[in-house]
Symmetry: C2
Subunit: 435 residues, 2 copies
């Protein structure tokens, strides 16, 4: 058991950084028992020294120069908690090269630059930990890399973006529009001023890509997966799904399908009695299916100051105790594993929920169903409702169609034809059903 | 990265042992990547060499003498998968003393003898892993010892016995008596020929005690916790609870209550929409509440050949990779942590579900409610139904009482007086409501 303290520098002292500093200070005794040595926060690097801070740990040197950490040989570990990819990548590389291990919660950084960073770490015999980058306080990376070692993982699916999930549950429970719920999420700190990456699926897709690398040794760039967000969902869609016994959730999914990897992030219909459907607010849930364990479900807070800090501190303790170096070696060894081929996006088959806004006039239904029929799409149920888009006498109708099982490719082709019909207003909404 | 193989002996080759051997053989390549070295199953020790086996790994030496493993210096690790505590303790001690690390799935062994075993391991610088001893394939020990390092854990609650949960869900869904569902569980291999330890709460209590040691550094012997089983539940109790919006689950719970530890295993009423209530069949679920992560929920298969083997193999890989030694050092250091005092069993307050079978004659209700009133027990709802115990004209009635919040002590005192009433038939059933 190493008796020397582990000397830590925090790079970035925002919400999560402050949480980490608090935990290190307040749980000093317990952390020493868990880690076998003292965890000593020595330095904090901030962008703006003049900013007033709610909490400043005692006896810690604060500066606005990364060089102060790079040049301090006593620092063992840099906990890098800054966003973005450019500066973060530059910093991370320099920290590793100067001999610091690295803990980060930055999923965009790991998604975009893990290959280069892992290479640098490997060269300099350093360790990188990134549990907090995916699903906040839920130890999903640890589950894949350690607890499920004795499994061939066949599927990972879940809710990886708390902002979207908050908005989806808020819309339905509070009878709000997408815009109203988004504003509520921003007010409560669940969504950023520019929420694009959360609501367009990018954030969840980056997290999913990180997990697929670990579970399947396979890179799935976002542009090679179906990646859709929640920003074109209307309250009436959520209500229509609910009346059919489903909730709409932004599902992230990667699974083996005939030996190839199917990966997607998209809103999907989930039966209301499923744990996925019952995951509400900003919570996350991940179900991992393994060849021996069956289905393992992990759920909890996917974001927020303390849950994210919880995962960061777990990584710090793993490093301090001497475990993380071995886990990271296994992560590096994954590079020698044969990756799985990626399934073309058109092939996966699902039942689909299709919503079309159409002109309320004769022969429209015949036109729509003719297109579906010609693409081999069999209708399981169809409901036509007056649209709510206008308060005056409705000139448009809303079609809600549930299909039988059909490929994404057929649906796309039909969708394109539907969109070209004069009687169809705007784009149709096409959501898979997660049975 | 150590390049020498890890040489393994399996002690016990029953259901789980066979599963472990299969995984080691079938996932050889992946395990090598995860562990950084080959996992080499060298020896198997069985009780009866003449028994026919469904599976025997090639190239493995089988014997019925533990001494063959003790005397083989090339063996690094003994995976001990035998039941009971006496022989298992004797074997475990000898294996550790002969220089083998130890992986076990035997919760009764860890519950009864961890103190002595940890001492022997510490003396001989050996490591003990026991993830599979609690909740089968669900990595709950790993969560407590590693993923939640940055948390003061305040509560652990869940379903830790798959047999009981199978019986409870089977009774209600199939409209069966306790005895019918137990026989069904035995037929499907979910219950042993002698199911006592599963259905009387002992199995779950042993598991809970193991978790409380890790999470709170506190020993709670079973005789110091409320420990009740499901064996006195009737289908009508489950139905009555369901009609009130609850499911009955065998809840294991340990939580801090005003700085002291409240621990119990008992059937409890859980609101039907909770994840606990929706955990059906032989599944387990554990919710851990931590000071920083909030509520983390883990759910999956709590028993069975492959899920248990999944946890065993995870431990083997942890040992082979070099992580387990550090985690076990942290387990040993817990002995220096100040334990939490145990809350007297009478103090916890709950709402209660009370079922009494009473004679169907005048003044009975007055007698019963008088006793409750005198013990300060306020009634929230009361239903009287004809009892189903007889097909002829009923001479008894069934009272279902929901109380407001009251201490276990008051309920016990009232219960004793109720039991002494002439008009009350047998023991009343008293279940807390887990709100």
């Amino acid at each position: 058991m190493p008796h020397t303290p582990l000397n830590i520098a925090l790079i970035g002292f925002g919400t999560v950084g402050t949480g980490v500093a608090r935990i290190l200070a307040e749980q000093d005794d317990q952390l020493r028992i868990r880690a076998g040595r003292k965890l000593h926060l020595c330095r904090v690097v901030v962008r703006d020294l003049s900013k007033t801070r709610e909490y400043l740990p005692a006896g810690v040197q604060i500066s606005d120069r990364l060089e102060d950490v790079l040049g301090d040989e006593s620092i063992d570990l840099a906990v890098q908690l800054i966003g973005g990819t450019d500066v973060a990548f530059d910093y991370a590389g320099r920290l590793l090269r100067s001999g610091k291990d690295l803990v980060t919660a930055n999923k965009a950084l790991i998604y975009a630059h893990s290959r280069e960073l892992f290479e640098i770490a490997s060269e300099h015999r350093r360790t990188i930990c990134f549990e907090a980058a995916v699903a906040g306080g839920i130890p999903v990376i640890s589950a894949i890399m350690t607890a499920l070692s004795g499994n061939r993982i066949t599927a990972i699916e879940g809710i990886l973006n708390g902002t979207s999930n908050f908005i989806l549950t808020q819309m339905l429970s509070e009878n709000q529009s997408y815009e109203q719920s988004l504003r509520e999420a921003q007010k409560l700190g669940y969504a950023e001023a520019d929420p694009t990456l959360d609501v367009d699926g990018t954030d969840a897709a980056q997290k999913l890509a990180i997990l697929t690398r670990l579970a399947f040794a396979t890179d799935v760039p976002i542009d090679q997966m179906v990646c859709k967000g929640i920003n074109d969902l209307m309250l009436s869609d959520l209500e229509a799904a609910a009346s059919l016994g489903y909730r709409i959730r932004l599902m992230a999914m990667a699974k083996l399908n005939n030996g190839r990897l199917e990966a997607s992030v998209q809103p999907a219909l989930v039966p209301s009695d499923r744990a996925l459907a019952q995951t509400i607010g900003a919570d996350n849930i991940v179900t991992i299916t393994g060849s021996t364990v069956g289905r393992l479900r992990l759920a909890g807070a996917g974001a927020g100051q303390l849950p994210t800090a919880s995962a960061v501190v777990a990584d710090v303790v793993d490093l301090a105790a001497g475990r993380a170096v071995h886990t990271f070696e296994a992560v590096l060894r994954l590079r020698s594993q044969q990756p799985v081929g990626i399934l073309p996006q058109e092939q996966p088959e699902h039942r689909f929920f299709l919503r079309c806004l159409v002109d309320d006039r004769p022969h429209v239904l015949a036109d729509v169903t003719d297109i579906l029929g010609r693409h081999g799409i069999s209708i399981s149920s169809l409901v036509q409702k007056e649209s709510r888009t206008s308060n005056v006498q409705s000139e448009s109708a809303r079609l809600i169609i549930m299909t039988h099982c059909v490929s994404e490719g057929c649906m796309r082709a039909a969708d394109a034809e539907l969109g070209a019909l004069d009687c169809v207003q705007g784009d149709c909404l096409r959501l898979p059903v997660a049975d």
